[in-house]
């Protein structure tokens, strides 16, 4: 195996991991801070991908999809918390599971009503539609490097916000112990709306960014949802650094697994998750803080 081939697989793994992290970090924030299991998180990822498709169709510009996706994601998230999740306060996890499963059906079918059943491809945006030569025979698409860059930027921003700001402190406190954080003056309503808005926006943006790489097709959120859950379990519920570790692990298993054991890559992912849970029933990194 040539070092360049290895390097390309590594880049693929990182790029895959970062997109996954974008989805999983939102999911784990919702879980950690609010205790909400959002099965519809993958569906919001799909919303982002179809948004990118629609924007490219309408305005012939991929870049426009990023700000639109951000705003749409924030609005959808805020509405989800305000009108639906907040009504389930005090109910057990099961109501949320049920509610978000209902949302999956609504979003998936809404997508079919608007866009139909055909898969679509999105062209790589013009500026980045070239490949970076690595050697005489190997090249790497610039767009994928751009995805890596965005991902790294996102990881850094999220870390800064969570570790260095007052808001981050409140969220970490809520993830650690919701009731005590509340008693200490964390305004749960604002924190919940904020976390849901940001969490959903992350998923939508991940979908926008992934659209030129993965094709856009009905039900595409399902796979991502399940993998994000695997990431969260690997990392420990509510732990952002754990989710990052989990994403990278999954990225490596996926990208190298597909090369060496193409039939069993999917199998390996779940086997890894079960193995981790057998050894550490509460996740790799201790749940709780960020």
């Amino acid at each position: 195996m040539s070092p360049f081939f290895f390097f390309i697989q590594l880049l693929n793994a990182i790029q895959y991991a970062l997109i996954l992290y974008l989805v999983a970090s939102g999911l784990t924030l919702l879980l950690g801070v609010m205790g909400v299991i959002n099965l519809a998180h993958g569906a919001f990822y799909m919303v982002g991908a179809y948004l990118a498709f629609a924007v490219v169709q309408q305005f012939a510009s991929f870049w426009l999809a990023l700000p639109i996706g951000l705003v749409l994601g924030l609005l959808l998230g805020a509405a989800l918390e305000r009108f639906l999740l907040s009504r389930l306060e005090g109910a057990d996890h099961l109501s949320q599971v049920l509610l978000s499963f209902g949302l999956i059906l609504l979003i998936n079918e809404g997508q079919r009503v608007i866009f139909g059943n055909d898969p679509h491809g999105i062209e790589t945006p013009g500026v980045l539609a070239f490949s970076m030569p690595l050697s005489e025979t190997f090249a790497y698409p610039a767009y994928r490097l751009f995805v890596c860059a965005i991902g790294v930027l996102f990881v850094a921003t999220l870390w800064l916000v969570m570790a260095k700001t007052r808001i981050g402190m409140m969220l970490r406190a809520s993830a650690e112990n919701r009731d005590i954080a509340r008693a200490m003056g964390v305004d749960a309503n604002i924190a919940y709306v904020g976390v849901t808005a940001v969490g959903i926006a992350c998923a939508v943006l991940a979908g926008v960014i992934a659209a030129p790489i993965a094709s856009v097709y009905p039900g595409m959120g399902d796979q991502v949802l399940i993998l994000s859950f695997v990431v969260i379990v690997l990392g420990g519920i509510g732990s952002l650094s754990g989710a990052l570790a989990g994403s990278l692990l999954l990225g490596l298993v996926d990208s190298f697994g597909k090369q060496f054991l193409p039939n069993y890559a999917a199998f390996l992912v779940y086997a890894a998750m079960i193995a981790v849970l057998i050894v550490r029933p509460q996740g790799l990194v201790r749940g709780g803080g960020a």
Binding site: I37, L88, V97, E109, G110, V230, F267, Y270, L277
Partner: protein, 322 residues
């Protein structure tokens, strides 16, 4: 569960059983087949409801027990003659129970969210096993060419007619409901609920919460297996979708919209959801929108499920009359 809810629960079960017994007499052809599907799903939902409600174990992986049993029939049935009902059914149920024992033994160590996600991971493992590993036609699925028949001393009893097969399903589901009702109201059920409500107190009484949960999980997995077997026999076809997490989620939806604290809730949930599907499918191609709206509406209006909601509503009505 209070005495009033329990009484209503029992009454609903009796009404369901009587109504279901009239099916072969009042319905014909396609309608009987549809009633068979509903009855099988209702039995599956009751089995899942038993671990989700009294057990407090939210499983998102029960479709793997259901699907494994279906596949076991497809793999063991002879190509050109009907399989023996008793032996293949026992094999399928035993297989499902064994898988449930393994999955349960590992998963029940995790609690809450981790348990849900653990069962989800096992479910996905099962799905990918039949989808990718080259057994029984991968994603294309496999056929059960002949419906199994019951070998009796005086000859074979065939279930090829829709009515005969319906009676087989009806009897099996009645058995499952009976077992669940009995377990819920026996000491076993009390300990199970006790372990859910207060694990330490249960331990102080000298019971192992782990062991009692595991037994409940295996019983439920075996019953899910029986339903999977009947599904394979009904359609003569199995595919990896039987084991997909969507299947586990849908049956959980049936349990929750009906009411997980009751035995009749999952039945009502299954009947309502499948009837709604059938009606909506005739009206619009995008019937899933309707199903989604129903689910969201039920969560918001009756978070504990329809049966407890109806019970409370009836009680208020009665009090006003007095």
């Amino acid at each position: 569960m209070n005495a009033q809810l329990e009484r209503i629960d029992r009454n609903v079960l009796v009404v369901c059983a009587v109504a279901a017994a009239t099916v072969p007499f009042v319905l014909t052809g396609y309608e009987i087949k549809f009633a068979t599907t509903i009855t099988i799903q209702a039995g599956f939902a009751v089995a899942v409801g038993f671990v989700v409600g009294p057990g407090g174990l939210t499983s998102l992986g029960h479709a793997s027990f259901y699907g494994l049993a279906a596949y076991l029939l497809a793999l063991t049935a002879p190509q050109s003659s009907p399989a023996n009902l008793v032996s293949t059914a026992l094999l399928s149920i035993a297989g499902a129970a064994m898988l449930a024992a393994v999955v349960g033994a590992i998963s029940i160590r995790s609690r809450g969210l981790y348990f849900i996600l653990m069962t989800l991971a096992f479910g996905q493992l099962g799905y990918h096993f039949f989808n990718d590993a080259g057994i029984a036609g991968n994603s294309d699925g496999a056929y059960v060419n002949f419906r199994p028949e019951l070998i009796l001393p005086w000859g074979a009893m065939s279930f090829d007619s829709a009515a005969n097969f319906y009676w087989l399903v009806y009897a099996t589901v009645c058995g499952i409901v009976g077992i669940c009702w009995w377990l819920r109201h026996a000491a076993f059920g009390s300990i199970l609920v006790g372990a859910r409500n207060n694990e330490e107190r249960t331990r102080a009484f000298g019971y192992s919460a782990y062991r009692i949960r595991l037994v409940a999980f295996v019983v439920s997995g075996a019953m899910a297996g029986a339903m999977g077997y009947l599904t394979a026999a009904q359609h003569g076809f199995v595919a990896p979708q039987l084991l997909a997490w969507h299947a586990s989620a849908i049956v959980l939806v049936m349990v929750l919209i009906g009411g997980k604290e009751t035995t009749s809730g999952p039945i009502i949930g299954a009947v309502l959801l499948l009837l709604a599907e059938e009606v909506l499918q005739r009206i619009t191609e995008h019937w899933l929108v309707g199903v989604g709206l129903i689910i969201v509406a039920v969560v918001l209006v009756a978070p504990n499920g329809i049966v407890p909601y109806a019970a409370r509503w009836l009680r208020i009505g009665r009090e006003q009359h007095v």
